[in-house]
């Protein structure tokens, strides 16, 4: 438990969500252990005593999330909740409760219903019932979802569709400035070249691609999946695996489904499989780079009959430059990504509405990684142009 707490505290820092001294992580088996001392511990221990959880995490967040989350919390007028529209929130978080005070009663009330909450002007609290990883994932999800919601709302504010209170321009400009610095600093690229000669080569390439994707800062470690096809086997990251820790979590899936030990493979396995079947792809990278997701959610047709159901019912042929944007829920079924995405992904990549970006390479991950970075950069530039944040 202690090693996991340290590991995920460090991840919060390495992913630029928190300052090193900030995460306060408690883990419980029969006794509670904390990663550091804090005067907030007594309140959090009251929370632990009232809930069936085994992990609790409380931390302030770094910029740009700090200003964004505080802004959204300040203006969360409906039932003291924030309701982003991205896939992460719709599927897993539902909404994000906001408390204006840090006390055990309000925290317990929120965690009774949801996996995490925002304490206005202070930070985020999340919990887990199985592992500190759950608290980390929810924390990361809340940051991501709030970022996407704010920047999406800001676009509609700038185009006059809605009127945001206060001074959102300053917050948006700061977020764009921070993002610009790190995306322009991405220099690394995958070194393993294809075509892959063996299963081991394929697996090594997947591990490298996952690590670089996270290291670049384009995506958070938990969100996304990676695969490569070698002969008649698709090697794919397991469900819920961290892209920067894929060693030992890659499933070999025969294309004829003749063994099912890959039942633990990513929820997007069927989508990957269909992409390989319908295209020349040899590798697939999928992540949730922020501005690709945000761009996918910007549509100016305010009178569209499908408004509000864009994620499943959008009937338009939408593009960001050469990149198609398609609707689709996570997983299978008529409106699942496995159905909507593969026919659209004929070129180098496609964005799923509110969800993330899929890119391909015809030989190895160099091309797929370049496409991921290039498309995200283009999405970022397009966002700045459309909002005037140049």
């Amino acid at each position: 438990m202690e090693s996991l707490i340290i590991k995920y505290s460090n991840k919060l820092v390495s992913q630029k969500l928190c300052n090193p001294e900030d995460p306060l992580f408690g883990g419980i088996d029969d006794t509670i252990i904390w990663n550091r001392e804090s005067r907030d511990i007594p309140v959090l221990e009251e929370v632990i005593a009232s809930l069936n959880i085994n992990t609790i995490l409380y931390s302030p967040v770094k910029e740009p999330y700090k200003s964004i989350i505080n802004y959204l919390a300040e203006n969360s007028t409906i039932n003291n909740t924030i309701s982003p529209d991205d896939t992460e929130t719709r599927t897993f978080l539902h909404d994000i409760p906001v408390s204006h005070v840090f006390n055990s009663d309000s925290i317990i009330e929120a965690l009774n219903k949801r996996k995490g909450l925002i304490i206005k002007d202070k930070g985020i609290i999340t919990c887990g019932t199985v592992s500190p990883e759950q608290a980390f994932v929810t924390f990361s999800s809340i940051c991501f979802s709030c970022f996407v919601k704010f920047m999406t709302d800001f676009y509609y504010h700038k185009t006059g569709v809605i009127k945001l209170p206060g001074n959102p321009e300053k917050i948006a400009a700061n977020a764009v400035s921070i993002y610009e610095k790190f995306i322009s600093g991405i220099k690394d690229q995958p070194l393993i070249t294809g075509p892959f000669q063996s299963s081991d080569d394929t697996i090594a390439a997947i591990i490298e691609a996952g690590l670089l994707t996270v290291k670049s800062g384009m995506v958070d470690s938990f969100f996304g999946n990676v695969s490569a096809k070698f002969k008649d086997i698709i090697f794919i990251s397991q469900t819920g695996s961290s892209l920067d820790e894929l060693a030992g979590t890659i499933d070999p899936c025969p294309v004829d489904n003749s063994t099912s030990n890959a039942i633990t493979s990513s929820s997007e396995f069927s989508a990957h499989k269909s992409i390989y079947r319908l295209s020349r792809a040899a590798t697939i990278l999928h992540g949730h780079p922020r501005f690709s997701v945000i761009i996918s959610m910007l549509c100016d047709d305010m009178n569209c009959a499908n408004r509000g159901l864009c994620h499943i019912n959008c009937s338009k042929e939408r593009f960001m430059q050469d990149i198609p944007i398609v609707p689709g829920e996570v997983g299978t079924g008529e409106k699942g990504i496995a159905t909507t995405l593969p026919p659209a992904l004929k070129g180098r990549g496609a964005i799923v509405y509110g969800h993330g970006l899929f890119t391909t390479g015809t030989k190895d991950f160099k091309e797929a990684f370049f496409n991921l970075l290039d498309i995200e950069k283009k999405a970022f530039i397009e966002y700045r142009e459309r909002t005037g944040l140049l």
Binding site: I53, T239, S258, N261, F269, T332
Partner: protein, 586 residues
């Protein structure tokens, strides 16, 4: 009681001694506190905790939940509660199908059956019309024959010849669609001279807020679609639970040769894909469920669940897939638990020095069913058989319930969960398979006890709550109590939270502990067979399967007792009983 939603507010109490019935109208607070299903059954079990399972006053209960019969997905499980003839513990089991839905639509939240009919009988329930008939013409009939010889329509719970012949691991079969498999509940039904319960319901279940229920349903189905284990092309919706066969084999934790090893070479020829190719299965499933995890072949034989697939191959050394199909059919028609039956045969093989694969599985199953030949002894399960033969250590069971097809040396949370389970070795009580193998909600290290005591305790509470809502365990690979709380609020109008469910589940688990305590169960019984601490599993492909550290196991169990609020010897405490507001004086 004022207007209630979700529940019908009525439980049918049938006394087979007199052939009469009455209606119990539980207080609304009992529903809120115990919810339904396993929890509600436990509540009515407390006053009978001191009775032997063969005492005519021992209740046999069938309970539904508040979501049963509504649009809430995968919420039609029936929960059976009594005392187990096999283990002597609290005896409970769940089953899918349509029985719970019919019962609820007939206007009943549950049935409590006491007494013993003067002759083999059948109960029919058509809405509020309850009758008891002679079933002498069904004596000795298989479950399949019994279903065919009774009237059509509705849903039927039946026992087979195994129960009538005293098999301790007898099941209750529901329309040949699913069985209440574990703990020998079928034998309690037989002891009451009850062959069949036939329920037909035509009423609507009142829902407080249908629009909110629709939204909750959408949330649940969205998560289900996102789950590779459930709806992926290799998932349960495609292959049934047989999809676990390759996975468990690849993790080197498939119980082999009566748990002497953990890897059975050649599983790729015995896996779910092979069944699909050979038998071209037809999908089916429970009322109101979109997962459709059941399969039958063209002869209407059920495709085996994972446990039967594994135990009738690896555990016994059999490599003939048709033998597995037939073994599964015999167990289904006889009405006996595949896991206990296969494990008892494996125990018999080891004790008698019979090499793997060299046993006539089908003959032994028929002997057990008819209580003839070797079956006379084997019908009592592996614990009694091994003890009788002077080799008690070769019964691979906990509290007398045979261990399912997940070797505990390959998943330490599972090891602890088998030991602490209140009904004996059960993988479903805490279901650590979810995080230790299937990575949900996140992956945990399967080879450590670190943190597992609290994880198991919380999971036991959660799954007790799921059994009380009477939702399917599988849907919780995807959804959580957050989504089901929303459904329950919509159906009942009561402001439940996920944590309310966990508290109710905790109360259920603790009540079971109390009942077992009254039967003499202590920490000595919360243990695994010695083999797991002294013999290694089958390492390979970079996976080491050492024996479980006895010291680590005992330390984890001690932590579990502390977290569960039990005394060091595993007994309940007055303080915890008071805290959980359980109606019991220690």
């Amino acid at each position: 009681m004022g207007k209630i939603y979700g529940w019908t507010g009525k439980i049918l109490k049938i006394d087979l001694n007199s052939g009469t019935y009455s209606i119990i109208s539980p207080d609304k607070n009992i529903y809120i506190k115990y919810i339904g299903g396993r929890g509600l059954g436990l509540y009515y079990m407390l006053s009978s905790a001191h009775l032997h399972w063969q005492n005519p006053e021992m209740p046999l209960m069938f309970m539904t939940g508040p979501l049963t019969g509504t649009e809430s997905p995968s919420s039609g499980i029936i929960s059976i509660t009594t005392m187990s003839p096999l283990t002597g513990t609290i005896g409970d089991a769940t089953a899918g199908g349509k029985f719970a839905t019919e019962l609820k639509k007939a206007g009943w939240d549950g049935i409590i059956i006491t007494g013993k009919a003067p002759e083999l009988s059948i109960i029919t329930i058509e809405n509020s019309n309850v009758k008891i008939y002679s079933a002498l013409h069904l004596k000795g009939k298989s479950t399949k024959e019994t279903l065919a010889l009774t009237n059509n329509g509705g849903s039927k719970a039946v026992i087979g010849p195994a129960a009538e012949n005293g098999v301790l691991f007898s099941t209750i079969d529901f329309d040949n669609e699913d069985t209440a498999g574990r703990n020998g509940t079928g034998l309690v039904m037989a002891d009451k001279n009850l062959k069949c319960i036939h329920v037909t319901g035509t009423k609507e279940v009142p829902v407080k807020d249908p629009e909110e229920l629709k939204k909750a349903k959408e949330d649940i189905l969205r998560l289900a679609s996102a789950s590779p284990v459930l709806m992926g092309e290799l998932g349960i919706a495609e292959y049934g639970t047989g999809t676990f066969y390759d996975l468990i084999s690849s993790r080197r934790m498939m119980p082999t040769y009566n748990f002497r090893s953990t890897f059975f070479p050649g599983t790729e020829k015995l896996n779910a894909y092979t069944y699909k190719q050979k038998y071209n299965p037809i999908k089916s499933g429970c009322s109101g469920c979109h997962i459709l995890c059941k399969r039958t072949d063209s002869l209407n034989r059920a495709i085996p669940e994972y446990e039967a697939m594994s135990h009738f191959t690896a555990l016994t050394g059999n490599r003939d897939i048709e033998t597995v199909m037939e073994a599964n059919r015999i167990c289904s028609e006889a009405g006996m638990d595949t896991t206990s039956a296969a494990s008892t045969i494996a125990c018999y093989m080891e004790i008698n020095g019979i090499p793997p694969g060299k046993v006539e599985i089908l003959k032994l199953l028929n002997d057990i069913t008819s209580s003839t030949g070797e079956g006379e002894l084997l019908k009592s399960g592996s614990r009694k058989y091994a003890a009788l033969k002077g080799r008690p250590e070769l019964s691979m069971s906990v509290k007398g319930l045979e261990i399912p097809a997940y070797d505990p040396r390959g998943a330490y949370g599972m090891a602890l969960a088998y030991a602490t389970s209140t009904r004996g070795a059960c993988h479903l009580r805490a279901f650590p398979l979810s995080h230790e193998i299937l990575r949900k909600p996140v992956a945990t290290d399967r080879f450590t006890f670190s943190g597992k005591a609290r994880i198991i305790k919380i999971a036991e509470d959660l799954n007790a709550a799921i059994d009380s809502i009477t939702a399917c365990r599988f849907i919780f690979f995807a959804a959580t109590m957050e989504e089901y709380a929303k459904a329950l609020i919509a159906v009942t109008g009561i402001n439940f939270t996920g944590q309310d469910f966990l508290l109710s589940g905790e109360r259920t688990c603790y009540t079971e502990r109390i009942i077992n305590y009254t039967k003499g169960f202590t920490s000595t019984d919360d243990d695994l067979p010695e083999r797991f601490f002294t013999e290694a599993g089958t390492s390979g492909e970079g996976i080491e399967i050492p024996p479980i550290s006895r010291k680590d196991f005992l330390e984890a169990r001690t932590r579990y007792y502390k977290i569960r609020g039990l005394a060091p010897e595993g007994s309940p405490t007055k303080e915890k009983i008071k805290e959980l507001k359980i109606e019991w004086n220690l």
